[in-house]
Amino acid sequence: MEHHLAPTFELFGITFNASNVLMLLIAAAIVFLIALVSTRNLKLKPTGMQNFMEWVMDFVKGIIKSNMDWKTGGSLHVLGITLLMFIFVANMLGLPFAIVVDGYLWWKSPTADPGVTLTLAAMIIILSNYYGIKAKGFGAYAKDFTQPMWFLTPIKIIEEFANTLTLGLRLYGNIYAGEILLSLLAGLATTGAVGFLAAVLPTLAWQGFSVFVGSIQAFIFVMLTMVYISHKVADDH
């Protein structure tokens, strides 16, 4: 594993990582295509991909329902499904291969970048605070920070940032670690015939495990999203 460079460029004085932007676009495009293809020819008696999509919807519905009642959580359904699909696809993208051109890493999981995952996490935490204010009004929302004891307020405020960090870094760490190990194994495989043979089995095992980790991380991200939002929205805590 060499130290890969990031293909950055600047636009309007803002630095972009071209690889991140590209992979985010690809992930979004794949999710959109899957969703679009499976929701053409919608029927009352579902067949094929529509069945799968309906299963995903029910799955997310189950996650939301396990955290709050459907009346308040119904509006989060779309967000939950999109998050789940997007993070899952993003996690899977880096598994089959990585593309490095002239030392620049182009193809990888977009979720293997802390900037991306922390942005998603921050978005979720901000959203949860927004929903908290919207559901209870600013007074009750602010009062929640002094519960159960007034002197815990600093800790409650820190908790918001800690939540952001853990939510984002958990996803990033899992996916990034998976890719590191995969690229190490790929590096081993390119050293020669012996190295190749030695690398085949571990690579196979690790890729299978990464599929599992990627699915679990997508699920955990959505689950925690709903947990945080329900903490802010619910009355009794």
Partner: protein, 176 residues
């Protein structure tokens, strides 16, 4: 070497730690994806699931109502059948009763008729007998007169003869 990669943002160590552009790109791409999916995929899918839910509910309701309706009809038919059976029984009963009555009537009428005919016959027989007896009596008187006149050779007065003969006959009747 290994631990380099465990540092946050190790990949882009030579650049600024925070890429504002990545944050913007992530947000914009995710929100656009959210919007597009809601409009083109989840919206219609949720719509059809809602529609199915409603369809199932209405079907269940329709089945329920048709079930109660058929139950009602069944009860109705059953009661109608019962009524019809009762009516039929009644008709048979009344017909039987009527038949019995008319049989009785016919028998009585026939008996009366027979009695009447018999009485008539008896009456007529008595009359005829009386008539025959009178005729015989007349004949006997005439014959007796004729015989007596021959025997006596003389003409008795009609008055005296008749008286005498009547007495004789009366005596004969008593003797008889």
């Amino acid at each position: 070497m290994f631990f380099d990669h465990l540092v946050l943002g190790a990949v882009e160590a030579e650049h600024s730690f925070l890429n504002i552009g990545d944050i913007l790109a992530t947000l914009v791409i995710f929100l656009i994806l959210l919007f597009l999916l809601k409009k083109f995929a989840w919206g219609p899918l949720m719509g059809i699931m809602q529609q199915r839910e409603e369809l199932i509910a209405s079907e269940i309701e329709a089945a329920e109502s048709s079930r109660t309706e058929s139950q009602k009809m069944l009860d109705e038919q059953r009661s109608l059948l019962k009524e019809a059976r009762n009516e039929a029984l009644e008709i048979v009963e009344s017909a039987k009763r009527q038949g019995e009555a008319s049989r009785e009537e016919i028998i009585t009428a026939a008996r009366e008729e027979a009695n009447r005919i018999k009485e008539n016959a008896v009456l007529e027989i008595g009359n005829e007998r009386e008539k025959a007896l009178a005729a015989v009596r007349e004949e006997v008187v005439a014959l007796s007169m004729l015989a007596a006149s021959r025997v006596l050779g003389k003409e008795l007065s009609e008055e005296e003869n008749r008286q005498l003969i009547d007495e004789t006959i009366a005596k004969a009747g008593e003797v008889q």
